[in-house]
Symmetry: C2
Subunit: 418 residues, 2 copies
């Protein structure tokens, strides 16, 4: 029997009506001949209520008890979904993490999958059950305590089950109808993609297109699980949404698939840093230890300092604006301790990042030139440039961000299919 995994997020199971709506989509797939594993989140708002109680009870809470409390939201939805399916004459059974058992590490609040044994679910499918409803976002540790995967972990649960059970596809139902070439709030020309590769999705997700959790896409890529993102609020059929898949499955070959952005970026420059082996480690080690998420890094060419023979350089990097204070503190502490030496620290808190992403870049030259030309035509000054194999990112003044996204969307003709 072919098997499908279907995952419904919090807004898709927000109340009993929404659960019925989701169950109808499950029933339709059963009617098409599938056995179905359904992964559910907590009803929207419930997790926040539980987290709020935990935080109010114990600001520095014991993560084991946090997990025991917070996981109950998904358990409720799983039971209600199974009951709803039964009401629709679909044989269904709910499963909490420990019943499968979904084996994870002991890292409470951020656990990782160790194994998802198939035996228990397979036995129920063999008995004639058509649907297994799984409480998402949770598992059980080797010590027999409940674990959670961290927020958004329901997507990861869905992909992990799809991999373990060899599912034909993993459908992620959410409140958007797919992946767009860019944010439709910035340009009405944004177009829904039929397909996108795992690699492109990873670059878009980490850049702010927050539809799919990065970890779930990484897991899907590793196990070649075909992911489909679609809306639970629309009528859907087998063509709906966006398929996230291996690039071999993508016939069309646009050079650029999407334009991503990140609005609240800061640019920091250490002026006249001594240029010696190990200096990058001496700078970025303390930043990482302080929890600063450094993104782009650029080192200028080295030159001799005016009053010395020692070579010096300027080191520029970007991080989220709200981490600037922490970054400054870490750098000053490292200087005070004598680990690094620099002239001044210049901070520009008015930056934004815009990126073009596409697997086609691998085989097409001139993408960067085309990007810079389009930005120049609109008078957008580039502060920093960083490139990867399938992505080119620029740091620009924040006030130009929307303009830049629109210009790049036009320049790469993303409003046109194929």
């Amino acid at each position: 029997m072919p098997l499908l995994v279907m995952k419904f997020g919090g807004t898709s199971v927000a109340d009993l009506d929404r659960i019925r709506n989701a169950a109808a989509k499950v029933k339709a797939e059963v009617a098409r001949g599938y056995d179905v594993i359904v992964i559910v989140s907590a009803m929207s708002g419930k997790t926040n209520e539980l987290v709020g109680w935990v935080n109010e009870t114990s600001p520095l809470y014991d993560a084991r008890e946090y997990d025991a409390v917070v996981s109950s939201g998904e358990n409720v939805t799983a039971g209600l979904m199974a009951l709803t399916l039964q009401e629709m004459d679909v044989p269904a059974r709910s499963w909490q993490g420990w019943q499968v058992p979904i084996q994870t590490t002991s890292a409470h609040g951020a656990a990782r999958f160790v194994d998802i044994p198939r035996a228990n679910l397979d036995a129920k499918f063999a008995e004639g059950f058509k649907v297994a409803v799984i409480a998402g976002f949770q598992g059980v540790s080797p010590e027999g305590r409940i674990t959670t995967l961290g927020r958004g972990g329901s997507d990861t649960t869905a992909v992990a089950f799809a991999a373990a059970f060899g599912a034909e596809r993993c459908d992620i139902y959410t409140d958007v109808d797919g992946i767009y070439t860019t944010d439709p709030r910035i340009t009405s020309k944004a177009r829904k993609l039929d397909k996108i590769s795992f690699e492109e999705m990873l670059e878009l997700a980490s850049l702010g297109a927050k539809v799919l959790q990065t970890r779930s896409v990484e897991l899907a890529m590793r196990y070649k699980v075909r992911l489909r993102v679609l809306s639970s609020f629309d009528d859907t059929d087998e063509q709906s949404g966006t398929l996230v898949c291996d690039e071999d499955e993508i016939m069309e070959s646009k050079v650029v698939s999407g334009v991503a952005y990140s609005r609240e970026e800061a640019k920091l420059t250490l002026v006249t840093v001594e240029d010696r082996p190990g200096i990058a480690a001496a700078i970025f080690g303390p930043l990482a230890d302080s929890g600063v998420n450094v993104d782009m890094i650029v080192q200028n060419i080295s030159e001799k300092a005016q009053d010395s023979d020692k070579p010096v350089t300027d080191m520029t990097f970007s991080c989220p604006v709200d981490q600037v204070a922490r970054a400054r503190q870490a750098l000053e502490a490292a200087r005070d301790a004598g680990h690094i030496n620099y002239g001044t620290l210049e901070v520009d808190e008015d930056a934004a990042k815009v990126s073009v992403v596409g697997i086609g870049m691998r085989s097409h030259a001139g993408v960067a030139a085309r990007m810079f030309k389009a930005l120049a035509a609109d008078g957008v000054n580039i502060k920093v440039i960083a490139t990867s194999e399938i992505k080119i990112s620029v740091l620009i003044d924040r006030k130009y961000m929307e303009l830049a996204v629109q210009a790049l969307h036009d320049a790469f003709e993303l409003d046109k299919a194929g």
Copy 2:
């Protein structure tokens, strides 16, 4: 290490402040040198919310899924209680039913305990944990599904743990400060009892003093678990509340310990029933099958019917008023099927039951006479009388109920201690 079981009902853990208040009582017992097993109910209102969702989703719900959903309320409280205790520097850990594991039968929604193995909790106590917080009202079936014990099952959970762990006492914290000689709403002379025997408590509980669930008292009596009922809303010490215990522990020897009542009773009389062996079974079998809770039964002396040699009798019984229609239906069906034969069915829906209860009756004669005399002095007519070893009950007109309770409370001097 001596061990105590403390159980907190829904109103005692209704919100985070109430949970903190309960946790402070647990901490006080730990300070007195006890290891403590805490049993918690769901925060008040939560179980009703969950049950409401299940009923709305599926009126004829699958009890397995009902249990999976409804049990989550206690899980939340257990985690929050453990966190609260940790905040107070009391080493605590929460336990859901399957983690202990609390082994029950598969009778979902009304499961019974099979075993409560000590190993897991004992290991944690040995590690230095002082408190185990147990989600009440639930267990796990041999099939690995979550079961619930039915409402009020948290009391039973508490007693079962006290028995399994040889607890010195099982303290039931609720919203009343103990067991009274009668309902204080009926007479301000009602007095809190320091001690009451299991047998008396059983008679009082089943008669409407709804403080302790009958099943939990039965279990406590069987395993000689000393129960204490006290209020979580008051400051309490080791003398607070009412101790429910073996009668050997009760030194004072009042003839009557309390006056109970049940307001909504009906009296039904089958007039001229044929008096033959098996007639009682033929009448009360169909009533039981229809779910009618028959309470008092009185059979008048037999006499010959006017137009026959066959002996006939009148059969009178009582049941709750809201079961009269069901009782009438069952009796008429049995007559139509030829299983019984009677003249008429007389129904009096304006009855109430008043009972005096006391283990002292066993050794004291004249209690019934004293009771009837007190009622007669106030002009209360008695419709039906039933007696057991430690209880005398009368069915009277409902309008006299309060008067009768007050008269009996005075007659047996229940306002005076000892």
